[in-house]
Symmetry: C2
Subunit: 137 residues, 2 copies
DNA sequence: ATTAAATGCTACAAGATTGTGGCATAAAAT
DNA sequence: ATTTTATGCCACAATCTTGTAGCATTTAAT
């Protein structure tokens, strides 16, 4: 089970911000806390802005704030915004034509797991985590 | 849920061979059927040989045959042989220190799914698929 | 107005993964 | 013995992902 670093970063950033969803977060602050390089983080922030999760405030005293309620931001949407969800939905053996009607040999064994993955990614939102339990970041 | 192409290929190749586990498969044959490039496939075959799953027979009339019973070849072992299993076991947010004792915010939500993945990969063997159902390859 | 501190964008660099070329080696067929 | 058809290996090429540099733009503070 491996997301790309890009998706990892996006989830890290937004779940970090979600601990205090009303605050304004300058890139500098996120970079320090999450140890992601400045330039790459800001590139991701642009994607996340365009997707409508956050809004950027330019200029001095600027930064990023949530643009919608964190309970409306699903994990799959985040991944989709930064790299696309398609790649996580394909056949485990990489056959383009694999489907319920025309399954690869592993289809039947693999499907329940992929369903579970999709359930998590589609149903969980940024509001669904217990941030108080955590001493990380 | 995404394995690398390398792992996909390895699973494709071995599950293809497992339909008729006694046969000898020249690389040419596998390449034609599975549409993997000749050189890359042979590189993978070398890894799979070194791991002891198959044995190569050189020279004319050569090819590859299983070196152990397919019921003894677990999916996780295959992945491990060609690219290592570690990367599939890490924290979903990419935190090296993430553990049950020191979890990231998503740990609790993510763990059941990763467990399920590990169950499939660790417990399923090449003998556990219903090859008769399949019209692919 | 000027400066300081922030984001936005484009193009390039580095690294990892995947794919290829060329040749050496092995063994059966002739 | 020679030829044909296999695998083995090494180094390089192409592509994809991740990271960086530089500069433009925006806005608050002074």
């Amino acid at each position: 089970m491996k997301l790309t670093k890009t998706s990892e970063y996006a989830l890290r950033i937004l779940s970090f911000m979600a601990r205090k969803p009303e605050e304004l977060y300058p890139a500098r602050h996120l970079v320090e806390q999450l140890k992601i390089s400045d330039k790459y983080l800001r590139r991701l922030m642009t994607d996340l802005s365009k997707a409508g999760f956050i809004r950027s405030i330019k200029g001095r005293e600027g930064g990023y704030v949530f643009a919608k309620n964190i309970s409306e931001i699903h994990l799959s949407q985040i991944i989709d915004a930064v790299e696309g969800m398609e790649k996580y939905m394909g056949c485990v053996l990489g056959f383009g034509e694999c489907s319920d009607d025309n399954p690869c040999v592993m289809h039947e064994s693999w499907l329940p797991m992929r369903e579970k993955l999709m359930n998590v990614l589609n149903n969980k939102t940024l509001a669904d985590f217990n941030y108080n339990k955590i001493n990380k970041y």
